[in-house]
């Protein structure tokens, strides 16, 4: 039997841990709500943007736009988006392992790989490979559009000077509070948007009537970098929401595990207490018997 005091201390300790994990769960759920609101506010912008893009792409030849240029891939860039903080289960580990798999795949094909890391966890992991071209840490908590713009510009410039021929982004997509999965998407070159069935008809109907200022091709040249910003910002929003959702789940599990441990320890404590009382009683009874005799 362990000493009573040790068990009691251990129970106290686990209780404190449970308090912390519970608080973290509540903080994460509050932050998740904030992140989801942020996504909600972004939706009208991204939807209208995509609509306008598909409207326009019917009117242009994509061949001579630098961000749409398709080249033979010799070097690929992987943008990895993770959270800055840990304690969110396997969320970051999943993203990182997906990115690593992608890297191996590229390298098996004999292509050069470079990384752009958004979020501290990605940076911490990939810096030892020596392939990180640039990283952005400590922005996941409070990022704004201009953060996304800075990153998008960095990636686009590297693409345009030939530093990379293809850019893909790996991030944790937010499906629901319970499900977040790593996802790989193409970033550059930007593929012509194929508009939805209804939109095609609509576009065909109205596109002749539009006055464009400047020419559609030139408008695209302005819009494409903005579109890249939209995509990067969108991914960051997804990761922001996923991170908090993953942390909520992880902390909830931790709190439950703490409760289980407390339950087991309490049983152990009671057993130890009982056996102590029993042996004390035995002593007293034994002593009384001895006096009688």
């Amino acid at each position: 039997m362990p000493a009573l005091k040790d068990v009691k201390n251990k129970i106290q300790g686990v209780k404190k841990t449970a308090q912390i994990t519970k608080a973290m769960n509540m903080v994460a759920s509050a932050k998740l709500r904030g992140a989801q609101e942020k996504m909600e506010r972004f939706r009208p912008y991204s939807q209208k943007f995509a609509a306008a893009m598909s409207n326009l792409s019917g009117n242009i030849e994509s061949g001579n736009l630098p961000l749409m240029e398709i080249r033979a891939v010799q070097s690929a860039e992987i943008v990895v988006v993770t959270s800055d903080r840990g304690l969110c289960g396997s969320f970051n580990a999943n993203i990182i392992s997906t990115a690593e798999k992608l890297m191996r795949q590229y390298e098996a094909e004999g292509k050069k790989v470079s990384f752009v890391c958004i979020g501290k966890k990605a940076h911490r992991y990939f810096r030892k490979t020596g392939k990180v071209r640039s990283s952005y840490s400590d922005i996941m908590g409070t990022f704004q559009m201009f953060n996304a713009r800075e990153i998008a510009m960095d990636v686009a410039e590297n693409f345009m000077v030939g530093g990379s021929d293809e850019v893909r982004i790996v991030y944790g997509k937010f499906y629901s509070v319970a499900i977040q999965r790593p996802e790989v998407e193409d970033l550059l070159p930007i593929k012509p948007l194929s508009p939805a069935e209804g939109a095609v008809k609509e576009a065909a109907k109205v596109s002749g009537a539009y006055t464009y200022e400047p020419e559609p091709g030139e408008i695209m040249e302005v819009l494409l970098p903005l579109y890249l910003n939209v995509q990067v910002y969108h991914v960051m929003l997804e990761v922001g929401a996923s991170e908090h959702a993953a942390r909520m789940t992880a902390m909830d599990n931790a709190t439950n595990a703490c409760k289980d441990i407390i339950h087991d320890l309490t049983q152990l404590y009671n057993k130890a207490r009982q056996s102590a009382i029993t042996s004390e009683l035995m002593d007293i009874v034994g002593g009384a018997e001895a006096l009688k005799g």
């Binding site: 506010r41 912008y45 559009m145 510009m153 006055t211 464009y212 200022e213 819009l223 910003n229």
Partner: protein, 139 residues
């Protein structure tokens, strides 16, 4: 007076959604004005001041980077940022202007094209902020 529906949408949410009398905006080929029942039109937007008039009252908005679309008596602006003139923090814009000027001078000295473009864009935004705030105040 016939009105046109104005919508200004930014990544952090819609800023304006209202029926107004007239809209003027900094387009690709210079300032343009839009009244009710305007023909279909699509233009990129430069950093500058967007004004709209409603009930004889003029409002000023600083906008940056995006485009606008007119169709079905509705004008939509999709811009990266939009701020009402009276909400602009003048001191902050002033500091941003000075910072951008300094960076621009450095970039020109070292002939760094990328940094130069960035500094120019930042300077333009700061100047547009100051101008919009000034216009809103004078009113």
């Amino acid at each position: 007076m016939a009105q046109i529906h104005l919508e200004v949408v930014t990544p952090s949410g819609p800023v304006v959604s209202d029926d107004v009398d007239i809209v003027t905006a900094p387009g690709y080929a210079g300032e343009f004005g839009v009244l009710a029942n305007h023909a279909m039109f699509l233009s990129t937007i430069k950093t500058g001041t967007l004004t709209f008039k409603k009930d004889k009252q003029t409002r000023y908005l600083m906008v940056s980077g995006g485009f606008s679309e007119v169709s079905n008596n509705k004008i939509t602006f999709l811009v990266e940022s939009a701020e009402y003139g009276q909400d602009i923090d003048v001191d902050r814009a002033m500091r941003a202007k000075e910072r951008a000027e300094k960076r621009l001078a450095q970039a020109i000295q070292k002939t760094e094209q990328i940094n130069r473009t960035r500094a120019e864009a930042a300077l333009q935004r700061a100047l547009a902020r100051l101008k919009t705030a000034e216009q809103a105040r004078r009113q």
